[in-house]
Structures are given as structure tokens and as C-alpha cells.
Subunit: 189 residues, 2 copies
Amino acid sequence: MRQNPERRAALLDAAIEVLAAQGARGLTFRAVDQQAGVPVGTASNYFASRDALLVQAGERVFTKLDPNAAPAPADLPRTREGVDRAMRAMVERITAYPSGYLAVLELRLESTRRPQLREVLTGQVRGHFQKDLDLHREAGMPGDEQAMTLLYLALAGLIVERLTLPGFIGPDAVDPLVTALVDRIVPAE
Amino acid sequence: MRQNPERRAALLDAAIEVLAAQGARGLTFRAVDQQAGVPVGTASNYFASRDALLVQAGERVFTKLDPNAAPAPADLPRTREGVDRAMRAMVERITAYPSGYLAVLELRLESTRRPQLREVLTGQVRGHFQKDLDLHREAGMPGDEQAMTLLYLALAGLIVERLTLPGFIGPDAVDPLVTALVDRIVPAE
DNA sequence: ACTGTACCACTACACATGAAGTGGTGCCAA
DNA sequence: TTGGCACCACTTCATGTGTAGTGGTACAGT
């Protein structure tokens, strides 16, 4: 088993791209090798099995999607308007990097068949959501936990819609929908 | 090309199960044959190509998911409470038939790579949503189009969450979330 | 009642694709 | 010089598509 961490990370990033482009079933050692531009057999040397590759890709994609997730809270007003701006930024950020979220969706579906992967994903989602919740509360933003859960679900739905059938909800409809959502979900201050 | 309509329908139903169980990439003629319990080669005789199979499965799954979609409006109060009941029933109905919605999710992701499939799915989603909208309005239920769109997105998000990572949002949390959602989205009467 | 036709279920096969795993070679650094 | 790593060649295997072909059956024309 090879150890080089940069190379391993590069392979995982390639795996994420493959997931988005070809689906979970298309995630093979060779496809990863090709995407990463390394010789055939490399991925096979870094991951014991396809399962391991899948799980590690699942771990990585969240660390790539989320860390920048909290760029805002600091200089944002602690009002509904502030929440609105944060949410719009989040939707913008995620839809601007489709591969990442599409890979997550593929992994979610694949986790239907792989208990181990499901464990990992559930832990990741729970953890990141909890962190966002804590940040939100510590920043003194309006909206209780239930409100944030509802926002999370609706935005997730919106993002899925935008990424998979962009013709249904057009690009111009996004911001108004997010604003309307926040207006209705987050209590007036 | 074979014509027997019952057999074709049975093959498409089998295709939906395969989609849910094995993903879009697992949808092969042979897998469909096996799932439907018919001899190898049958599906190949009924569909000109894998593409055609995918598209026709995409058409069918919506007709199977939706028609029962409007069992309620008649005897439901034209109030927020009525909307709440309708929405809870809908979530219940969809999560009770996981294969159907999981197949839709697989198709959505696959449509990322297949323009023709994307066209079909976009049309189906748009059409069914519009129909629901019309029924809702004609029944005199509270909530304008934007409110219904927000409800749709949030419930879609909730369903995805329930079907793919059931450990994150537990089964007992569903009804309260739906009720809270409707309370916040649909204006008080 | 007989025969021919059309359709269909089922079978078999030819061809292609793509992947996994293994073993080996050369290189570089400790 | 020894160990770890990148790279490569080759074998083996599994799976799927598309199509051709076979036998059976229902139906219609005569």
C-alpha cells in the first residue's frame, strides 16, 4: 500500500470528478488513473479495494465542500437579511462546483447498497450540519434549530433541482426563492 | 420489435426496480430480464437500445408515482391544516415506495449525461408540478405558487434525506418537520 | 377443416469492452 | 545496498450488446 499523501489526495480528487461524471458504478481504478493522469495501476496501489476507494472519496468530498462553508458569519448582520445573504452565498458556492455535490448525490445513492459507506456519509452529514448549527448560534443569527433544518432541506432540494434538471427552476429564479424561503422560515427580528 | 403491451409494462417496472437497486449504470438488458423473470434477450427485443430503455423507464416511473397523487383534495379542509395533512400524506406515500423515487434520483443523475433523458424528465417534472399546482388552486387551498414551490423543494429535500441517509433525520422527526414547514410557508388563513 | 402468415417467446452466438490482479523493472534515497 | 515507489506488460475474467435463428401458436382467408 502506497503512502504518498499528495498523490493519494490527488487520486481522491480525481475519484470525485469520476463520480460526478460517470456515476458510482463508473468509479473504477482505471477511470481514476485516467482522470488523475497517472499510469494505469496507480489507484490500485493506493486503495485496497473499490470499497475503500468509495469510502475515502466519501470522506474527502465533504472536507472539500464544507470548510469554506463559513466564510461569512463574521461580518454579516445578525438579522434575517444576514441569513438571507449567507444562504444565497452558500447556494451560489455549491452550484458553482457541481462535481462536488453531484459526487455526494452519487455516493448517497450508492450508500443505499453499502452499509459501510452509509455510516461514513451519515456521520459526515450530521457532523457538518451540527457545526453549521453551532456557528449559526454562536454568531447570534436569528432562527432556531428547526428553522435551520427546514432551510437545510429546502436548499438541498433546490440545489438538487438546479444541478440535475436545470430547466425546471431557471437560474434567475434561485435568488428570489432563497429570499422568500428565508423570509418565511426565519422569524422576523 | 415486440409489441405486447403488458409485457412491455412489466419490463419497464422491472427496469425501475433495477434502477433503484443497482443504479443507472446497472440498468442493462440482462438485469431487466432477470428482474422480470423472463428469458435473456427479451428486453433486448422490446427496446431498440439501452438509451430507449432508459427514456421509457423515465416516462413510466412518473406515471406510477403520481396518479394517486391527488387522493385527498376533495374532502380536505381548505386551510393550512388541510395542506399539512395533504403534504404529510404525500411524504408518507412516496417514502412507502422507495424504489420509485430512488429510480427517479438515479435517472436525474443519469440525465446529467444524456440530453434526451433530461428533456423527458424535465417535461415530466414540470408537467406534474403544474398539475399539482392547478389542483391546489382549483381546490381553493391556501398558498400561492411561490409557497407551493418552496414546499415542493423542501419536501423533495426531506424525501431524499429519508431515502438515502435515514439515520440523519429519523422517522419520528418527519411529521413535525412537515407541519412546521407548512406552518411557516403557508400564510395563516 | 386446411393452410399460410404474422407475431412472439425463447435460444444461441459473435463480437466487443473493460476491468482486476500480478509480477517485474528501473529509479531514487536513506 | 536495500527498501519503497512509480511505471508497465500481460493474463485472466466477467459482462453486455446486437442480431440471427428456431419453434410454437393464433388467426384469417379459402
